[in-house]
Symmetry: D2
Subunit: 180 residues, 4 copies
């Protein structure tokens, strides 16, 4: 969903060239997941943010994010990207309901909306996903950091989140009732 993203491992039936073409002609469908740790009573105690190095060598935080492919269900895409970004031992607890807690719209030009993605117009179904196991980020993510809800919405962390996703973290924490 940004230049920091991993190369798309499954371009579906679209060549990379074709994909570049449609990125400027259609909104692309994404799923995103905000990993959380829960107390026994379900309340959220920690939020997991990924740390990545971008092309220029600077570090950015992000969440689990990726495209839904042709003929793939939203649930399968969510599971695939969670495994790709958190590793095989994370044991994410996927939601029973297919309805996202919010929809994030990423636009390539500034000022078109709350979220930005210079590569494309992407519309993302965003889920809060409790994670019970050990997270072992694969691919290009350097690490997953667990932060308290308060830390996760702090100005410092917000500034490190790419594409305006700080607002998404705040929405998620408001949704789960984790902030005073």
């Amino acid at each position: 969903m940004s230049s920091l993203g991993t190369p798309d491992p499954h371009p579906g039936w679209l060549s990379e060239e074709d994909l570049t073409h449609v990125r400027h002609r259609l909104p692309l469908l994404y799923v995103e997941a905000i990993p959380v740790r829960q107390a026994d009573d379900g309340s959220v105690t920690e939020v997991g943010l990924l740390l990545r190095a971008d092309a220029g060598g600077s570090f950015k935080r992000t969440i689990v994010s990726g495209r839904v492919l042709y003929a793939e269900t939203v649930r399968a895409a969510l599971l695939r990207h969670l495994e790709k970004d958190l590793g095989p031992m994370a044991f994410p607890r996927l939601p029973a309901s297919p309805a996202p807690f919010t929809v994030a719209e990423y636009f390539p030009l500034p000022g078109m909306g709350r979220f930005s993605d210079e590569r494309q117009h992407a519309v993302s179904l965003v889920f809060v996903v409790p994670v019970a196991g050990r997270c072992d980020p694969r691919q290009d993510a350097l690490e997953l950091t667990w932060l308290s809800p308060e830390e996760a919405v702090s100005p410092t962390v917000t500034a490190e989140l790419e594409g305006g996703r700080g607002a998404l973290i705040r929405s998620a924490m408001a949704h789960v009732g984790a902030l005073d």
Copy 2:
């Protein structure tokens, strides 16, 4: 979202040919709205279904449905399709939240999921939209019929709804608490 649909009036930056190409390579993003009438206390009293003639001359029922275009917000797409399908005097009350009550996935091949669309893989954000004004279906829709929640989920009506949308109407009525 099916062969009954109106020709896409705004193909965005994609030619019809390009769109046909992409329809088999990417999931397309749709918005759908189930129009309802409400009592003063907000409870749903009636559901509005569109009646359309398909290419073969038979009649099918459907709901407000259409594609989200490049650089268009989900809200703007919803408003555009509501106006296109219900006319300019319907005064739809768009939801305050961008989160759909459910997500419907339409696949071109039978057995891939609950909903079908022979033309494409489409993922639809579905909203219940109260409508206060007069509905005047435009374009190819013959009429909008208001049914009680019970009628709207009856086997007869379910069989007349295209693409498996009977399950969507039942989900909506369950969501608003309109069924015993």
Copy 3:
């Protein structure tokens, strides 16, 4: 929430006599949970219903249900009733969000609403709760039966559910997208 319910094990600061008094003067706050089994991708594969014998010796099905006590959080009440009704090894996955998927209103007189409870006016926050472990109903529940979503909404099972909770099961299955 009905004559089948277990005696309230923690009457809070109210004597049983006081509780009887207020049952006819205030709506009582309940939490309810519909236990489900999930596939890896989060989709619901089974629904757990409790079987109980009522005072007259006939059998009724129900869901996890109980009162919120004075000074108790909704989350704590949900956890307490899940443990009481499913046993200590059920490992329920409580929701991250405090918002119920629906609110059920039980009235003592027929015709006042969709749900009935002859003892009282009760308002229940209803949650779908995935359960990963072994369920071992305690107290007066005879057993927990796992049914497919289709079985759980069948007319036979609906008729066995007390207080109109068949509509609640259908709402839950619609919410999680488990029905065609």
Copy 4:
């Protein structure tokens, strides 16, 4: 829901004395509404906050709030309190779904939860309610002020909101996607 609240005009079948008694023995069920103005596409442009003088003569902001009575539906209680607090010409658009966007728990002692109410333990179903008409606060509310979403979540306004409801306004604005 606080000492600023209006005397309960309909004590149901409970005397004021009885009500005082149960306030310390049972959680009381409330409904709350955050009035908003919407643009045509449904996005929230303004939030309505009530200004009230408390017993000590100082001013506090609050939202529409009140008890659900015995034998009253949640929808009827919501409509009643909206009319009481906003006047008869506000034309609130009550939600189609009975599910609140969040549940707020008010406890009489500090540190028990996010929200406080020195009088009682109250559990509140909270809704965002678009208001189309003219608001004319009745009873003891001095006025209704329309603020932008940014103003409504500012530290100044948060400090003026009683019972910790600043967190509730922030949750609502996150829910409707109104904040960057």
